[in-house]
Subunit: 204 residues, 2 copies
């Protein structure tokens, strides 16, 4: 693990003594499925109302067979103009995108599209909470990075193809991944909203 | 149900002297298209970030032709589990459904599904702003009715098939429809958030 400068840097939502393999990796579920399961957990427990938006589809042809429901026979995937997830948590608007990589030291910027960055900037301007959840599958580590930190980096480093893990560790919030719900990102949101001071992890 | 004191009743967002024919009816656009246009206006002017969710589709079969993009060849419409519109306005989470009717004196309750009502109740419990936009096409009148007023009515009147216009006039907020943007529902939201006292309309 990276050594952080004294008194700075990493801000885990929960102090993780040593990174354990994420349980969902073992169960063979992917990151998106785990976020959906987490959101279902939050919904069932009255903790937040967060939904994944349906995939946008361009419908070209629909058949209406007699005595049967409409059947779409020609359609194409469209690129989403917003992020994948949004909802409400204690009056706060949350808006985020979730991505994963197999890289170990950096997160590829190509995972984000210009229009998603623009969307997050617009959400920020309306005082919404926009962020990304970044999952390093090989490391079994997940981070919440605020759009307020991602966007300036994205804009300044158009030529650069990825965000270093060090940057994410410095500015992001690590999400524990070894309990139920498996990606408890609301713990990070609580810290952000509570304005808790950044602290160094005791695990270093 | 709550009884409002005398002199309260209808709360138009703007005093409309006499209901004028909605301009969008003349242009041949439907209610949904006008709401989308209104949201585009709000987005372009930095006033709010509200999007319509894509229609949920159950994809059964996809072809991947060589040198061509993926083509969905069998898919079906699914019923949405949430409302159609959501987004953020000055830090507030907005969540709503838009419906229209050709009726003149009442709005059919069948326009709302149980799961949409449940979703709006969950949004309210997270301090989100949930509501419906009800458009009477024949009358050319549009109302914003808070979910906090709709839900108790819906639950108490399961046997009743519609909400009377009188109820909507009493508890709802009338949205002017004769300017750009054509359905300026944010004016109602501003009044709700500002806690402005209810007032009777001069047009009654």
């Amino acid at each position: 693990m990276v050594n952080y400068p004294v008194g700075v840097a990493m801000r885990p939502c929960k102090v993780v003594k040593s990174p354990t393999k994420s349980t969902f990796g073992k169960r063979g579920m992917n990151f998106e499925a785990e976020i959906n399961a987490t959101n279902t957990y939050y919904l069932a427990h009255g903790m937040a109302v967060i939904h994944k938006k349906p995939t946008p589809i361009q419908i070209v042809k629909v058949d209406y067979p007699k005595r049967s429901r409409a059947k779409i026979t020609e359609a194409y995937f469209r690129q989403a103009s917003t992020t994948d997830y949004s909802g409400v948590y204690q009056g706060h608007y949350l808006d985020f995108e979730a991505k994963e990589t197999q890289n170990k030291t950096s997160f590829p910027l190509k995972n984000f599209h210009d229009h998603q960055i623009e969307h997050m900037a617009k959400v920020l301007s309306q005082n919404g909470l926009a962020f990304v959840l970044l999952h390093f599958t090989t490391l079994s580590r997940t981070f919440l990075l605020k759009a307020a930190d991602l966007i300036p980096f994205y804009q300044k480093n158009a030529g650069q193809k990825s965000i270093s893990l060090a940057f994410i560790e410095k500015y992001g919030y690590e999400v524990p991944t070894n309990k139920i719900p498996s990606i408890p990102y609301l713990e990070c949101i609580q810290k952000i909203l509570g304005g808790e001071p950044h602290f160094t992890t005791t695990s270093n």
